[in-house]
């Protein structure tokens, strides 16, 4: 099955110089199957129109496509369609929560939003392995409200250090935001334990699900998180679309950040009233074609099956880790057992940028740098690493092409 579905992805036939393409950068963004690409053509040729407005037939078809997307996502991650809010990317989704709390803390949203209000006596907790998207907005919120920002450290093994969980997440903690899966280490975090602690102290749980939703079965209702965010583009979907998922009552009381058309009920020159979620957070013309394309992607993922995708990628992770272990001078960051197919490493004596350049010359696409996780890199004493990350379309040959090239890196740069 996985060998067959590779043919659905036209870009994987690309030649890079004399090599075939081994695309191991799905942690940054995934490639798209033909059916997702075709959805754009179909949408713009047959049913493009502004949604939720106008009585004409195209508008009705566009609106149907737009709302069907919420149903597909709710089927994928749990909850009801109206719990699915469209954003431009996962980063916006996380900001909508952080900035919504900021606005609530400054008096917006009235009585209903008081539950979100933060002040100097409160704390916000994140982890040391967060992507900047789930760190910087909370720093900003802390600055704006006077709340204290705390974090769970990371062990040498690349796992969350839970030894001080009870003192870090304590009665002052109002928000606990953490990633489901590290985009650098590949580690799958123990959401259950973390949520349980949050419930003990009454903190809101915000889950960064960018690296979990595309790669494994995830159900936000079962995980009992309050808000969750992920991107379409990492899950076979298009650029320009992300998802904020939230509990209905919380979404309906969180003050909106972006305001404008299509999210209001009544507007006078002096004041405005806002709709309930999801429209509440969807000001202006939405990424409708993107939602249509993502719906196709979600259906594709569901058909393949997330459980199978997870197993397939774990197999590839094994190939990568075993192969890397045989190459001298390579240090993998983190060694979590419970992981996805994302492996970041340091090559002794060769800077990551040079490693990536050499791999590219051999047709291998990986990512180099801090992967938007500077604090995590600092914790491991490096400024940049090379990261190989898999997806459902990768196969053992991709991994072997990568390993063969990686073995040549230090010789090429004259390091032994």
């Amino acid at each position: 099955m996985f060998s067959r579905l590779r043919n659905d992805f036209p870009i994987l036939d690309t030649r890079v110089g004399e090599s075939s393409l081994s695309y191991l950068d799905s942690g940054a963004t995934s490639q798209k199957p033909q059916c997702v690409i075709d959805t754009f053509t179909e949408y713009y040729s047959q049913r493009n129109a502004a949604v939720h407005r106008g009585a004409h037939s195209l508008a009705v078809m566009a609106t149907d496509a737009f709302e069907a997307g919420r149903e597909a996502v709710a089927d994928l991650v749990g909850g009801a369609p109206e719990q699915v809010v469209w954003t431009k990317n996962a980063t916006e989704a996380l900001n909508v929560v952080a900035l919504g709390i900021d606005r609530a803390s400054h008096g917006f949203g009235g009585e209903a939003a008081q539950c979100f209000s933060l002040g100097p006596a409160d704390s916000i907790v994140v982890t040391e392995m967060e992507h900047h998207a789930n760190l910087v907005p909370w720093q900003q919120l802390a600055q704006s409200t006077g709340a204290q920002l705390r974090w769970l450290p990371v062990t040498d093994a690349g796992e969350l250090d839970l030894s001080d969980l009870e003192s870090i997440v304590d009665e002052t903690t109002k928000v606990f935001a953490f990633t489901h899966v590290s985009n650098v280490l590949g580690t799958i975090n123990p959401v259950d334990t973390l949520v349980a602690r949050a419930r003990q102290v009454g903190a809101l749980v915000v889950l960064d699900a960018c690296q979990s939703v595309p790669h494994m079965p995830v159900n936000f209702v079962d995980l009992d998180v309050d808000f969750a965010a992920f991107s379409a583009h990492k899950a076979l979907g298009p650029t320009g679309l992300g998802t904020l998922w939230g509990k209905t009552d919380l979404l309906n009381s969180l003050p909106p950040v972006l305001t404008g058309g299509s999210m209001i009920t009544t507007v006078t020159m002096e004041d405005s009233a806002f709709m309930d979620a999801p429209q509440r957070f969807e000001a202006g013309t939405q990424p409708v074609a993107e939602v249509a394309a993502f719906t196709t992607a979600v259906n594709y993922l569901a058909e393949v099956g997330l459980e199978k995708i997870f197993d397939h990628e774990r197999e590839l992770a094994g190939v990568l880790l075993d192969g890397i272990a045989k190459i001298p001078g390579i240090t993998v960051l983190g060694a979590a057992d419970n992981r996805i197919g994302t492996v970041a490493f340091d090559v002794d004596g060769v800077h990551a940028h040079d490693v990536g350049q050499y791999l590219d010359s051999q047709g291998v696409a990986v990512r180099v740098g801090h992967h938007c996780a500077q604090p995590l890199h600092r914790r491991f004493g490096v400024t940049a690493t090379t990261r190989a990350s898999t997806y459902l379309y990768n196969n053992t040959e991709d991994c072997e092409q990568f390993l063969a090239a990686l073995a040549e890196v230090r010789p090429f740069f004259g390091v032994q």
Binding site: H52, G54, A59, V60, D64, T265, T266
Partner: protein
């Protein structure tokens, strides 16, 4: 003219949209018995309705409303008012549920005229997703107002 349009704008709907039953001055604080009132708005087009429902001692329901909107929403409010004057509280709750179901059927079910009366004429609306909200606007207001009236009845 497409038959879909004729199904949407049945004569009974056009008639109700012009001579509107229940479209009367609101009593507000002057309402006598157990009553409730609700203001609903369709953000897409700005249609709005304010509706009062009153339950008299003998269990009869009186509906008054004032609103501004398209023929579908106005006709719907009119039909609702007519039905309210002919049915008990339980009967109206049943009709409301059936009407709701009819509106979300996308044309797959036919309204039972025995129960729904003139409201059965709205079955064509369910094929026009953009207009379902128009047809339901007054019913949402009615359900809300009736609920308030029932609550104050119990107190």
């Amino acid at each position: 003219m497409s038959t879909q349009m004729q199904q949407l704008y049945q004569q009974v709907i056009l008639d109700h949209s012009r001579s509107r039953i229940g479209n009367a001055a609101l009593l507000r604080e002057g309402a006598a018995g157990p009553h409730g009132s609700s203001h609903q708005i369709n953000p897409t087009c700005g249609d709005e309705i304010e509706l009062e429902a009153e339950i008299s001692d003998d269990g009869a329901i009186a509906v008054r409303w004032s609103g501004d909107g398209c023929s579908i929403s106005m006709a719907s409010a009119s039909v609702l008012s007519e039905l309210a004057s002919e049915n008990s509280v339980e009967g109206m709750l049943d009709i409301e549920a059936k009407f709701h179901e009819l509106m979300h059927s996308r044309g797959t079910i036919v309204g039972d005229e025995e129960i729904l009366g003139d409201a059965a004429a709205f079955s064509g609306v369910s094929k026009f997703p953009a207009r379902i909200k128009c047809a339901l606007l007054s019913w949402v207001a009615f359900k809300d107002a009736l609920n308030q009236a029932q609550t104050s009845l119990k107190e």
